[in-house]
Symmetry: C2
């Protein structure tokens, strides 16, 4: 059919000025009730819809938030995005999606395109290998605020929401100690990761609280590949002290380690208990679900990060009032099968 109706069209039919129509549609106070009704009636009749692209252009605002994250197929991120979407939608924002697939080059390109699309702000969780942040620094020039979540960069003067693994780790190790375990292995992640260091610190603190000695040789590292995890587990199994519990970096690592141990004839959750960090759904269907797992609140992280971004956009928050929110992780005892 013909072009969609515009306020101009309505104005012409009613012999009014476009400005009058615009005001009438917005229920501007000093527009005569009569004309207001007329205008609104005709608008309804013509099924008038304001042209958002015109409004975006005119207002220099798109009511769109860009989301850049590594991988939606990771349960953590798909939960986080629900928090983002729900919060954004409440304020009439839409969500533009880009997955970096943990590739820095792709991340850079996505940010560039989103900048061009004139998103009002950006929510970012870094690709695994991203160590340079020029593509984010550059956004300052364009006045596009960024809030990082979960995988945050090692930069000053940024907004972020992240979870602190230390608290959950302390709780996890404490639980094991309380259950009588004395030789607890930890399969940690890459040493350069903040999250790995937090786990280590948590382990140490939990031991310290009970006046027990922390044994660094029980804290082994995996680069998170299956092979590395199996080696790490093997290392723990051949430790001179006999371990009775393992804290694994995450559910994937946990499962790989469990598999390896089972192959070695270990009785899971009997000879050795496992505790992990929640990122697999449906753990109740797993062959050997962890005894307990550390919850990282992905939905909440997404929600908080979005709230900060929206506050930044509405001016409720000054651009340089850097928000750095840390959400304590927490141990959750697995429901028994």
């Amino acid at each position: 059919m013909p072009n969609p109706p515009t306020i101009k069209e309505i104005a012409k039919r009613l012999n009014l000025a476009t400005s009058t129509v615009s005001r009438a549609l917005h229920n501007h106070p000093r527009i005569g009730l009569k004309t207001r009704m007329q205008v609104q009636a005709l608008a309804r009749e013509l099924q008038y819809e304001p042209n958002q692209t015109a409004i975006f252009f005119q207002q220099k605002k798109t009511f769109t938030l860009g989301i850049v994250l590594p991988e939606l197929s990771e349960a953590f991120f798909s939960a986080a995005i629900s928090g983002i979407e729900d919060t954004a939608n409440k304020s009439n924002y839409m969500v533009l999606l880009g997955q970096s697939h943990d590739d820095t080059a792709r991340e850079q390109k996505i940010v560039e395109i989103m900048k061009n699309h004139r998103v009002d702000g950006l929510l970012v969780s870094l690709a695994r290998n991203t160590v340079q942040y020029a593509h984010f620094e550059m956004l300052r020039k364009y006045n596009i605020p960024v809030v990082f979540f979960d995988r945050i960069p090692d930069m000053k003067d940024i907004h972020y929401v992240a979870s602190n693994m230390e608290s959950g780790t302390i709780q996890a190790v404490s639980l094991l100690l309380q259950q009588g375990h004395r030789v607890i292995g930890m399969i940690n992640g890459p040493e350069k990761l903040i999250a790995s260091r937090q786990r280590t610190t948590g382990y140490q603190k939990a031991m310290q609280q009970q006046r027990l000695k922390y044994d660094a040789t029980l804290n082994v590292h995996s680069d998170l590949t299956k092979e590395a995890t199996r080696q790490a587990m093997q290392q723990l199994l051949s430790h001179k002290r006999k371990i009775t519990a393992v804290v694994a970096f995450n559910d994937y690592v946990s499962q790989d380690a469990v598999q390896y141990a089972a192959e070695q004839g270990i009785q899971i959750n009997k000879d050795i208990c496992f505790v992990s960090y929640a990122n697999l759904p449906l753990s109740s269907y797993m062959a050997y679900p962890p005894l307990a797992s550390v919850e990282q609140y992905p939905y909440l992280q997404g929600q908080k990060a979005t709230e900060i971004l929206l506050d930044l956009l509405s001016g409720k928050l000054a651009p340089d009032a850097y928000q750095q929110i840390v959400i304590d992780s927490r141990l959750v005892i697995a429901p028994k099968k």
Copy 2:
């Protein structure tokens, strides 16, 4: 800093007309090499970036595709969206996301907002309970093409990509028959679902191919809740014929059924074999992974649907040349643990 530079700005500095600048930037053939270089040099120097919102407005096109789907935390959809995103990005389109969370009202609202945002086209997988399609019909008026995928509506004259469960089911049942199973139970989904009917047909055809009789009492239904599935399984276990294999509606159903059977003392994959339809990742970590599972190619579905939509947008495909692509599902033997 000041406002971002515009072609007007560049024109003024170079004493040129904006049109000349515009053309120079686009490498229009009949612009003098000299001025072209000048313009491009200055543009670079000022870090000129075209204002996309102005272009969107002027061109009545946003290079944005709207995606409406039930739930990203379902592995099927997070895989599908990668196919969508990758394909869209190749053609410089961005992806606007909306999850219906299987709520029709929310689906309607999302479609409305996306229409207002003037997405160029829509990719949709229906909410579970959606049975009225007015919110999609209405898009025709706005010339916003829609391509449905996976969960498609019962409508004529639409574009869609879906998978056919029949082929995979035939293969699954045939495999079981070939392995000597003669009494095969099926835990199917809600009867009104096309996908359920396809499974039934597949079952029948596989039996027919071997000149065996199809026994309808072996094909029971679940509404996909855990409870219903357990009842269905119980029904199968108390069948007068002793079943030795089960084809479950999907991985979730399969796991619930397996759990129930195990509780009854059944030896899984020994007394009774399970075959399922792939939607859980990491099946290798499951307690009792299915013997084999029917693959539905989510990435491919997303990709194909997007290709159709892009062809529609580029005019390569006429709006009424309805594409209805069916991708045959296929049985995949599970890798042994």
